[in-house]
């Protein structure tokens, strides 16, 4: 990426908007509620925000790849639910209510694997059978909202699991998945912008015909990215569970809109993995503000503070709505023979 693109008006607007949101929030908190910001932005807050941002960032990277290649995977939320639930169920099968760390890691692997299998079916419906991408993606959400609590109820007799175990911290009191996500984000950037395969992905979304002419199978590229997006969303759900330590299946389940926020994160990041991760961090921080308010002693209804990420998503989408989508998103590609 050249400096001109690095300093493009869009990017400046993005950074500017993020800064404005943070400053406004800080000003609001310090003036209206009479709290010093440095007491609010503690090391624990940063740790928790990073932890919260991890699943959003992982799912966003997956969704971004699928959309870059021309398939809008609106089912991210659903795959995250499946991932979180599968991880919990696997952990419980392996180690009951006190699984070991090894079993937790294995469970995350199994969750990713199951997500890949489910996404394979989803990808076939989307690409081979040209399903409506929006409707099918919504269906995945509905299916997950039904079958995950259903299976939970058959296993535990209740929609939520008993306490399992959460992941041990690595260095700096930080979850290993945070470091893993940083690596994934960097790798996703390099792969997308610096390798031949990355260009194939971009071409599949922008000009599939040219890619076809160049001898690359467009649909194969799309299968790869959709399956990757499902794997990442499943892993994201598993990571969410590994941080929380138990599965909650009531209401909109423990995923609670994070898959949708992931979509907004990559739109906000303008389809750039690093931008998407930064946006995920912003949403993660908003998500954790609730805990922080309580520790500092601000009297605010937890229920209202919890709505902040959703409000932020709407503001971000409206101010930043004019992202340039890949031109062929949503269209099935047919080879001319």
């Amino acid at each position: 990426m050249r400096t001109t693109t690095l300093l493009s008006p869009k990017r400046l607007r993005l950074v500017g908007l993020a800064a404005v949101i943070l400053v406004a929030l800080g000003a609001f908190v310090s003036i209206v509620l009479d709290v010093q910001v440095e007491r609010l932005i503690t090391r624990g807050f940063v740790t928790r925000s990073l932890e919260m941002a991890t699943p959003i960032a992982l799912a966003a990277i997956g969704g971004l790849y699928a959309e870059k290649s021309g398939v809008f995977n609106i089912g991210l939320e659903g795959f995250m639910i499946f991932g979180a639930f599968t991880a919990a169920a696997t952990m419980f099968m392996l180690g009951g209510t006190s699984p070991t760390q090894g079993q937790l890691w294995l469970a995350m692997g199994v969750a990713t694997l199951i997500s890949i299998i489910l996404t394979l079916g989803f990808a076939v419906l989307l690409i081979r059978y040209k399903a409506d991408q929006i409707v099918a993606g919504l269906a995945i959400w509905f299916i997950a909202l039904g079958f995950a609590p259903f299976t939970a109820a058959t296993i535990w007799g209740s929609r939520s699991s008993p306490g399992l175990t959460s992941i041990n911290n690595l260095a700096f009191g930080q979850s290993p998945m945070v470091f893993f996500t940083v690596i994934v984000v960097a790798a996703a950037w390099v792969f997308l912008y610096r390798t031949r395969y990355g260009y194939w992905i971009q071409a599949a979304g922008e000009n599939p015909k040219a890619l076809d002419t160049a001898g690359v199978d467009v649909n194969r590229v799309r299968y790869a990215t959709v399956i990757f997006s499902g794997a990442m969303a499943g892993l994201a759900g598993a990571v969410l569970l590994a941080h929380a330590g138990n599965w909650v299946g009531t209401g909109d389940t423990m995923v609670d809109g994070r898959g949708w926020i992931a979509i907004v994160a990559y739109l906000f990041g303008n389809y750039n993995p690093i931008g998407a991760a930064a946006a995920a961090l912003l949403f993660g921080a908003l998500d954790m503000l609730n805990v922080q308010f309580q520790t500092v002693g601000i009297e605010a209804s937890a229920r209202l503070v919890n709505l902040l990420p959703y409000v932020a998503v709407i503001i971000v989408l409206t101010v930043w709505g004019k992202t340039r989508m890949p031109s062929k998103v949503g269209e099935a590609y047919e080879t001319e023979e």
């Binding site: 609106i74 059978y129 079958f147 109820a153 998503v313 709407i314 409206t318």
Partner: protein, 377 residues
């Protein structure tokens, strides 16, 4: 462009629309039936895999939906909500606007109805006349509130380019959280043990004719039918409806014939939200009588998406589709009490229906491969 040109373009579009409708109406019916049957079949396999008796489950589905007078009344009562909410979704989807926010608009409308009736009750006489005034006033407030909550994402989409799928989903979360906070805090009933608002006054009640179920009124059914017919007429018989549908299917053609696309998006979302608000008003007046924490309210607005899709977004088709869902939901209530099978299974089956409806090619190709059916499948 001369009026003559415009007329010709319109005739051309008319003919195209007619042809499209005629050619696919049978096929769509077949796809809807096939999707539903396939989803239920998969549901039964899952029931068996989870170690329950699928045949018993299937029979309980039927008994719970239409097995007794009580079950039938319950099915009808649920159907009222699914059909109304389904029409709200259908209006938007027909115009190419993905209003996933019917659930939120339903909640906001229902809550506004309860609050406005309780507020006005202090100023009007008790008795039948006062009750009538409260009923009409509360319903209108519900419709307006739902309409405004729907207009918001419409404005954001039209003038801010914000994807309505995501904004409406976020607004659902916000409606649930915010109304939930209001119900638990400022508007909670101090005398109630459960989290809910005060009850509607006793004179706010729909007349009990024909049905023995206290939560089902002939007026509710009438409102539903009138809404269906009115929306169907609006879409097919008025120029406004025509412009709306054209801007959904043929955006360029609509703009070419002078339709303001941005305004159309806002109007569509407002209309859709108004119908969702009406659904909320009917729900609180006819069924609940107060407002509870919306996170525990039925997923009528979400399932309405499935209802509308199953009906190919046709308001008339929403009637049978909504009744199917009314039956499924009613069966769910029955199963919850009379069976060990967790009731969430029904939500999963609904999701599968939506998934299959989204991929008509699946059925076309399967039909072709197995040599089944002529042009209907």
């Amino acid at each position: 462009m001369s009026t003559d040109d415009r007329g010709r373009l319109r005739t051309l579009l008319d003919r195209a629309a007619d042809w499209l409708l005629d050619a696919t109406v049978l096929e769509r019916l077949a796809i809807a039936v096939a999707s539903t049957l396939l989803a239920i079949a998969i549901g039964l396999v899952i029931v068996a895999a989870a170690g329950f008796d699928p045949i018993r489950f299937a029979s309980q589905l039927l008994i719970g939906a239409i097995g007794s007078e009580r079950a039938i009344l319950r099915t009808l009562r649920n159907s009222v909500l699914f059909v109304l909410a389904g029409v709200a979704v259908a209006v938007a989807f027909r115009a190419g606007v993905f209003n996933i926010g019917v659930q939120g608009q339903f909640i906001v409308g229902g809550f506004a109805t309860v609050v406005s009736i309780i507020w006005l009750a202090a100023f009007v006489p008790t008795g039948a006349v006062g009750g009538m005034i409260l009923l009409v006033f509360g319903t209108l407030v519900g419709i307006v509130a739902g309409g405004l909550y729907g207009a918001l994402p419409g404005v954001l989409k039209a003038y801010g380019d914000a994807n309505e799928i995501i904004t409406t989903i976020m607004l659902n979360f916000i409606a649930i959280g915010f109304v939930g906070w209001l119900v638990a805090g400022p508007f909670s009933d101090p005398d109630a043990t459960a989290t809910r608002t005060r009850r509607l006054p006793a004179n706010v009640e729909l007349p009990q004719l024909v049905f023995s179920d206290p939560n089902l009124s002939i007026v509710g059914l009438a409102v539903t039918l009138v809404t269906v017919v009115a929306v169907a007429a609006l879409l097919t018989r008025t120029s406004f409806g025509y412009d709306m549908v054209t801007s959904g299917y043929q955006a360029a053609a609509a703009t070419y014939s002078g339709v303001d696309a941005k305004r159309m998006i806002v109007l569509t979302m407002t209309l859709s939200g108004m119908i969702a608000g009406l659904t909320g008003a009917v729900f609180v007046i006819m069924i609940q009588g107060y407002f509870t924490d919306p996170s525990g309210i039925g997923n009528y607005g979400f399932d309405a998406i499935a209802v509308s899709l199953l009906a190919a977004n046709n308001p008339i088709g929403v009637l049978p589709a909504g009744m199917l869902f009314g039956g499924l939901d009613s069966a769910g209530s029955h199963i919850q009490i009379n069976s060990d099978v967790p009731v969430q299974l029904i939500d999963g089956i609904v999701g599968l229906v939506v998934l299959f409806v989204s991929a008509p090619e699946l059925f076309r190709m399967t039909a072709k491969r197995t040599g089944l059916g002529g042009d209907s499948e």
